[in-house]
Symmetry: D3
Subunit: 337 residues, 6 copies
């Protein structure tokens, strides 16, 4: 066990994280397989460093079908100049590169969900090896972590930035300050019930400031949500003291998802018809969707109702639904958070 802990990561970086200026390169992870006996997974990385200061680690593609983060980070990696920085910015637009390349939530190599694979293993699956490298090499370098998410191909969200409710209230408050600086239309205080295996948890347990987002979904990004991501990343870097400039304040609505009643699940397969749209206010017990059986015409739909009042915040995206799919999430608006 001890021996395993000290086994080095198989990943090697082609960039020097301590070099001044801009470095573009790769995290290279050897991956022997049928179509490449001596092949590797190559995860692009950019480091922008300028003198002494905090380190921000910016990541996208934790899930491979979420696009606002990668757009903002390929843009930032291309445009950020060292003279704008005080300290260091590490940019990884496609954390789970195999998933990002395939346009899928999980890795096509091992079906690994990177965000449930922490702390990872140096001798595990490809996804676990990536997690291990973040756990033991990248997170320790960072002071602030911004991890971009969106709904992916099967969920759609109101665009929000979020941080977790934490035991360490100072750590929590500083993270919420960054959320406020990010400036998404909605901001969420998340209470993670089952935090096992998450990147978020790994970072927070090391005392890092960790901020995340959900900025849309459906496996696409529109101009509006990409702009939120680009602006939010710069705002956060400024607020964290890593980038010069001034945070452009944006109005935001704070939300809370206090318990399991926020979620409505399908029990039947069929064609889903929503009776409300994201952003609508809904009442408790209000029909929010119907599932039409598709094997015959003439049958009645099964109706799904909300369990609590609030804002319709997230929903199932594909036109067909399967038993067990989460269909709708309702969040509670918080006054003046």
């Amino acid at each position: 066990m001890l021996q395993q802990m000290v086994r080095p990561s198989p990943i090697s970086a082609t960039v020097d994280f301590d070099a001044e200026g801009v470095s573009h390169g790769f995290l290279r992870l050897p991956y022997s397989r049928d179509d490449a006996a001596w092949g590797s997974v190559m995860i692009p990385v950019t480091v922008v460093r300028n003198g002494i200061g905090p380190t921000a680690l910016l990541t996208g593609g934790n899930h491979g079908d979420e696009y606002e983060g990668p757009i903002a980070l390929f843009d930032l990696a291309h445009s950020l100049r060292p003279e704008e920085v005080t300290g260091r910015v590490i940019i990884i637009p496609a954390m789970n590169q195999p998933a990002f390349g395939a346009g899928t939530r999980t890795s096509p190599i091992d079906r690994g969900n990177l965000n449930r694979s922490f702390p990872g293993r140096p001798d595990g699956t490809v996804t676990e090896k990536i997690a291990d490298y973040f756990q033991r090499v990248l997170l320790p370098m960072a002071d602030v972590v911004l991890d971009f998410h969106s709904g992916g191909k099967t969920l759609d969200f109101l665009p929000f930035c979020a941080a977790h409710v934490l035991a360490d209230k100072m750590q929590q408050d500083r993270a919420f300050d960054l959320v406020r600086a990010f400036g998404a239309p909605y901001s969420v205080k998340m209470l993670e019930i089952d935090a096992v295996g998450m990147y978020d948890t790994a970072a927070e347990e090391m005392g890092k400031l960790f901020v995340t987002t959900e900025l849309g979904g459906g496996g696409t990004a529109c101009g509006r949500t990409a702009t939120i991501a680009i602006r939010g990343a710069r705002n956060l870097l400024i607020a964290a003291g890593v980038m010069q400039g001034e945070v452009a304040p944006q109005p935001t609505q704070w939300l809370d998802m206090p318990d399991a009643d926020c979620f409505t699940f399908a029990e039947d397969a069929g064609l889903i018809q929503f009776l409300a749209d994201l952003g609508d206010r809904v009442e408790a017990g209000q029909p929010i969707a119907r599932i039409w059986p598709t094997g015959r015409t003439g049958l009645p739909p099964r109706e799904l109702c909300t369990s609590r009042a609030g804002l319709f915040t997230a929903r199932h995206f594909p036109g067909l639904v399967k038993p067990g799919d989460c269909v709708a999430v309702v969040a509670v608006e918080i006054e003046g958070a």
Copy 2:
């Protein structure tokens, strides 16, 4: 050749199209395969008949990943009462049932694109057999045809109803009247350059009034677009004299797509960042999207510009783009059409 023309369709209906009242049933198409030597494709169908009057044929699922039409038609098949009808309504929510069941544009059986398979063949592929049945059995029964489309998993559209510019101006005008009655937010006069194989063309060549739609996309439907479809179908049935009641007038903006300059194509693979959103007015030569190469960070994006001014009407949906994908469509607004 003559012999082939008279070969009967292998499809048999379990409903009697001439029966009064509501009949729910199937179009059964024998399909022998490895997992069902004596299997069949079953296409649900509802017929609502009440006395003498015109026949409306309403179809969805021509492409299997477009959902506003199926929602409106499963709803209508369930709710339409004979006493509301004068004549006959034939409702087929999932024309290309195998594609609809799989949630894909084309048939998983033969990869057939039903809307390019007309007039079909009784001894062809499964998709061609379906086309043949519509060509030789269903279209001849109809006076008015409403075929629902949306963008599917890979395109997104401003919601519009449309009919074709036709040589027979009387036929054309009556179709545009139905488009106006449908009442989508946008209405389009389509000039089909390559109409070979389309269901539209098959219907129009028989002199039928043919109306179609594009009501969103991305492989989903939201509450708002489903409502447009449900209301539009009832409006159209009323305007066509098949259903009693009054058309609820809706404001609409007429659009035109005059030539190939409306379309912008990608020449590179990558991550797509849109610089405008559907519904935005754009100028000719305006950058409308960027494609980021994803193999490395630090490279510049390739910029795509519009060729003409107009309304941003349709776009590529997935976050990744491939060479040759249509990225953006710009339509011209028509005053007072």
Copy 3:
């Protein structure tokens, strides 16, 4: 068109069909593909010839998941001695060799159902090329054809031998004589409604005596049904005058399937529970099977009833059923046929 008719088959035989004695070899069909640029499909064939006399063509594996025929024919090819023969026996245990090799009804190469591919094409798919070779090379050599079938992986049959009701009553009667000689437990007079593309039809149109079987199913063969096939082939060869010896008479029950009422189809997916077994006598309107919906417990099953009285002769085999699958076939017993 004329040119196509005279285009030779691409298949070449490594055996000489006119050579005396036993020849084992192949029908070699060039098939260029990704994993063999200059590859071929190899169909094993045995020819046993002894002087002047009629030619019997014995085939199995027309569908690749039916096993009684191949067992009888690999056995016969291995054991038949020239001195037992008067004339010629051509034995092809696996007509659609790619399907037989894969254990599937249709060809894994082109999903071709060989028994619906006649007369075939020399420049068509692999399956069409095989059909063309039988059409233009093998059938013309034959006087008598015995083509073995069973139910395959998705159907199960009472074991029977059959021939078609034909316009040429002399041809028909001689075929029924061979059916009687074959000596299966059941014998069927088949009236083919849609005979297009069948091997049977191709042979009969050339005036050949054509006999077929259904000897069980489920994608297996048991000892009892294999014995029926082995004995039947020898009996038929003797009755046809190609093999010496005496037909061992077997009792048989003659059956008829007069119309579409013999067949019961599923309209729903689910778990199938049969309420009778093959060989049972059933009444018209009797519940013969139930389909349990499997998405929830507590729902009632859908009940399927027979349309006519008779003998339960064939049934759906897999435990799950799909909409459109044929569930049960009831045949009528003919007295003293």
Copy 4:
């Protein structure tokens, strides 16, 4: 390790196991994947409770291609009334629901063989999570467990009910009493050599009475074997004191499979010809099957012989056989067990 033991199962039940009367619902297991980021596996469950008394846990679909059990249990879940019960009956017709839905022995999600996955893990694969829920939640509730099996798509069995030879002879004798009550045509005393990972073992180690079956096979169920399952379940519930009524006694033949000599394996690929059928008495050294090489005609078959005398009890089902497949099982008849 300790920590892992106390981690709760991710599965939640939508039924209250302690509620009186009939409850239909689901075991919901969250399963995030590419086509459902917030999806779940839904395992239908029915609980019938009436006052104080023992709990019987009835399961089918442990392997997903075995159908007698699911038929009996969907039927029982639909028909069992609380007033027939004394205590509680928990009915789960499709334990490994993903496998059952796919019609495969193992789970299509992780290829897990549920019956080799015990005791399972709350943070393991989907199959391991199901095992863990049975191990830690359901089995502790039960007094008697009846787990239905059949041969599945690749094996066929004489229909039997069975229990294990156990160290605790009282536990063993009570289980054999239940086997006798079940009333299958054959009854087996099983000595499990490698019991690691089995549901059986998990239950027996907790001191539960555990009864299992093999009721046919081939991936189908016939009317006769479904009837055995339905009657057997009721008989067993009555014998266990959970259901009122009287056991209808059935004749049964007791069998034993004492050692490895009962099993005959193929060493070659080919077409299998059985020389005996299930239920036949065979002698030691008797040829029981032949394997025909299929690459060429004219080659001799390889003959497989039994190692011991007895009743031909189980066999390979598909028409083709692979090296290493078990071809035949011979069991020894026990007089007056």
Copy 5:
């Protein structure tokens, strides 16, 4: 039929074939599919034009797993300057772009073998549409055609350049002159027995000078064979009068493959052991390879012998062999051709 002949190709070029200088662009072929409703196949093309003179059409990737041609043509497209040219050079390194992109002989879209798809169809499969564009648009522009082939993933060849024996001896002689100029280590006079569907035949029937190659194989290219291709293309362009400079003469050995005896086929599956290597002289009847059965150790191999004496010119490449694969080709050396 007439109508079909005049139907225009769906392919549009983004380059102007008549423009002076260097143009890089695409042949864009609309291809609607599940993952791109309005997608296209994009075939890169380069045109280098300088004044009046003949047109050479240079193509690679006719089969997608043959690499010497694409290397030479991507290199030439990048390096060729207009001032080196007299007339026009059209360079298409990846004719069957979908196959080239997938690294497979045939198209992953429709499994089309482009070199057996001529003359193609404007309304056929994607591969047939590409063939049609060459047939009706590109070949008519050309005076000289050089089409690069190699053995691909499943064959290996001695490197040769070749032209066909033709009825028009003047056309033939001029083509052989170009073969000589190309300067491969071997040169072949090919007599095509079945020329139906080939690009070669399409070009030759229009009276074009057509030259082809086989320059190695195995799905790779080495430095030596890439150099032969690069030098050969320039030599041929000079000899054809399209490029300035002087042909560098290379020694070559002329070969002939007169009949079917040149080819040896496998009849068995197994592990192949070659007893000679490409370039070796072999005698008629000499063992050239053994096929080891792999199911068991201890069995003898099957030995394959040549049918004629000559040079071992081509062979099966993969380590495993299937029945029907061509194992070896022996060519006859021609003195002083």
Copy 6:
């Protein structure tokens, strides 16, 4: 943990390793799966024993797409006579039989790379169970181990035999003596940096003499490299004292791969053009390959240079290259090793 160590292997051998003479049989590994509930993996094995003496364990197919070893070992298993042996030779031509059967580096069952799976687990994946059997049953029997490798489908090597630099210099020197006896054209002293999971390491840690090879690649074997393998195996057996006769001395060039600078990796996808061939001497910084982007013509290639001078010893094989693939290996020549 202790309990796991003593759990027996599920593999049983059908041969008696201690029997005198030649035994051909199988290692049978039960493997229950969807297409064979009671199936097994069958690994052919031959044991040749003659009296007292050392045991040599000869293995091929550790990776399933490497062919020189299997050819040599099927040949040896067929031809080796007991009287040639002193002691025992255990021959396993296809260690990872499922991979060998599929022609892939890793197992198609579990994608296991056998050579990274040691010491294996008796309750792990199929590949881990094979490793465990070698670890606990076969390696302990052996004194000398020869494990054949080649480059497989994606790499190509100069043919060499090799042993590791070890801490135990006596063990190392005796292994190098066997390498010298083997007599490949090249001989390599390997310093394994990451030896975890290798068969080599497992054997060496038990003090066995372990010799390995790389004898070509590309997923094929030519006559020359097969001869090296056949001769080398006999030479090694003689040198190890297990076989009688005399080693035929062969000239060899000793090579060393001292550090990571020997390896050059691709960072881009594209078409690879090698500028040198295996066996060429290269200088440090010399361009050794170019990668052509294939999406467009007219773009420059990316050039890859060596990091050190030496002999071009191994290279990427397929014509297309992916980011992260090892493109070239340069080894240093050792004088008079």
